[in-house]
Symmetry: C2
Subunit: 348 residues, 2 copies
Amino acid sequence: MKKPRTVGIRELAAHLGMAISTVSRAMNDRSEVSPETRKRILAEAERLGYRPNQSGRSLRSGSTKAVALTMRTDIGRTMSGETFFMALSEGLQSTLANVGYDLMILPCASDQDENEFLYRAVDRRLADAFIISNVQRIDPRIDYLRKWHMPFVALGSSETKGDYAALDLDFAGVAETSVRRLATQGHQRILLGLTAQETNNNYVFLAGFKTGLEKAGLAFDERLVLRLHDRISGGYELASTLLAMDDRPTAALLIQETMAMGLYQRLGEAGLQPGKDLAVIGFRENPVCRYLTPSLTSFRIDLKQYGARLGEMIIAELDAEAKGADRSDFVHEVWPMELVPGKSDGAA
Amino acid sequence: MKKPRTVGIRELAAHLGMAISTVSRAMNDRSEVSPETRKRILAEAERLGYRPNQSGRSLRSGSTKAVALTMRTDIGRTMSGETFFMALSEGLQSTLANVGYDLMILPCASDQDENEFLYRAVDRRLADAFIISNVQRIDPRIDYLRKWHMPFVALGSSETKGDYAALDLDFAGVAETSVRRLATQGHQRILLGLTAQETNNNYVFLAGFKTGLEKAGLAFDERLVLRLHDRISGGYELASTLLAMDDRPTAALLIQETMAMGLYQRLGEAGLQPGKDLAVIGFRENPVCRYLTPSLTSFRIDLKQYGARLGEMIIAELDAEAKGADRSDFVHEVWPMELVPGKSDGAA
């Protein structure tokens, strides 16, 4: 089968013996072109199967009508059932579609530099606006986006200074609430499982943990803070560390709920039972953890709503950019999460 | 804070008192512009913070240098820990990056028509090539992509006729191997759990199931084929149906492994044990299922490699498109999967 090439405006113009600019004006229904010429051009376009290129339209409107969400695809995360982004995208995409915008997810592979990845996408103007995730404590992407006046929302808070919009889960609140709950149950030595990355939520979670300890009148012990390299296996590692301790903590708080899977497994191997021998609180209520026994105490968020809110925020940024207005109204929003008590914690 | 608007080529030209076309030629280093004029334009561009728009570059090269992967975000799937796409993207994105292409995932929300969604993305030329997933038995998207000569790969096979590239997992082989394994273990009545969608792999899996029965000398019973609406809860539903049967099947084969979670739960509630009271084989070895006890018999695939192969295939399509060559070499590739015996099946 002979596969014909796509006919571009250049070829269409050549077929017609006309200037590209004339063809372009005709395709855009501009008055400089006579109705007869326009008719002839459209007929030829139809015959040749030419269709106007979006890139051409973009050049004129300066817009791609797309919002990009950057995301790391680290095998480690994905293998742990990290479904957060897909559920979030559901609400985000619907909200953007309502105003004629497309959502594109730009996955950054683990062997790529996340900053360079974003710079490149911005340079190429792959989208009209960006949502950056996996926000680092100091995140140079924020400066870059600001420098180039690209509308964006940081999905996660950061120490990077400057006015910009940000949306985050209430990591501090979850940690504080969890510690106070565990303290009320009589726990005095609480192990904290963080991730090993420089993601800002590690710091926020730790701060909330410390606040909770302080309010409960408990001392902070640096040795009880573990930084784990992976999710499920990180929970396994955490349990192993705990089992080897002389003065064993009676509770564990996890920044990522899938860690609980490995933790449950390791405890089981040692003949210990979560909820009875160790109080465990995970972070987010995750369907992947639904089948853990005993049920994991965690915190609920409606990710579809959260995605919809993110959509509203990026649309507001696009609007503000279009208006070129003075800005003193950047939203920094932290979403509360609701405690869902399970059977994995309780009296010390 | 005063947020300056992005300076576009129009404003830059206005500042310079020059025609947009002159500025454009200068930015593209074209010889029609004198070195002095070019220097002046670049200095002003630098001063105003103008940067060339990728869309402008696209108009000239006719290329976005991006490949789009379409994906449904159905909450039902995402809530079941469907991490398939993220792991696949890892290999796909790396392969594309090697040749200077970006991967963008276009998530289609559950309230949107998947066909219209694709047509719109093609019309807008969001990418130079497309990978469509969730391929339907008869999939009009294939015709549309062919009609507009858009390079693409179908991630999944289809009954839609025509020459095009496709990559799929070996659904037929997995079903046949599973049935023969169960038959060898002495099972004669095997329940088949499919999904309720018109996804083509339902049909392929059923065909492999029938082939397996035939080769094992077992009769096919239409009543043992269930079409389930969701993943985890679908497994629960399947177990409930099974428990209510007079002539209860002794084995169950699932097209989607997370169904096993709900199935295990329902069996547990009935005091029954997978592997002992019911032989169960899931589809793909999934880390989310790693913590099921007894371990689930399933089939292994390296998703990073699979994604890399998909990348090679779409690059081949882009190359062929660029060459405008005669095509009789469309690849339709089916990837074998390797049995990983667990403890969820065994003697009847």
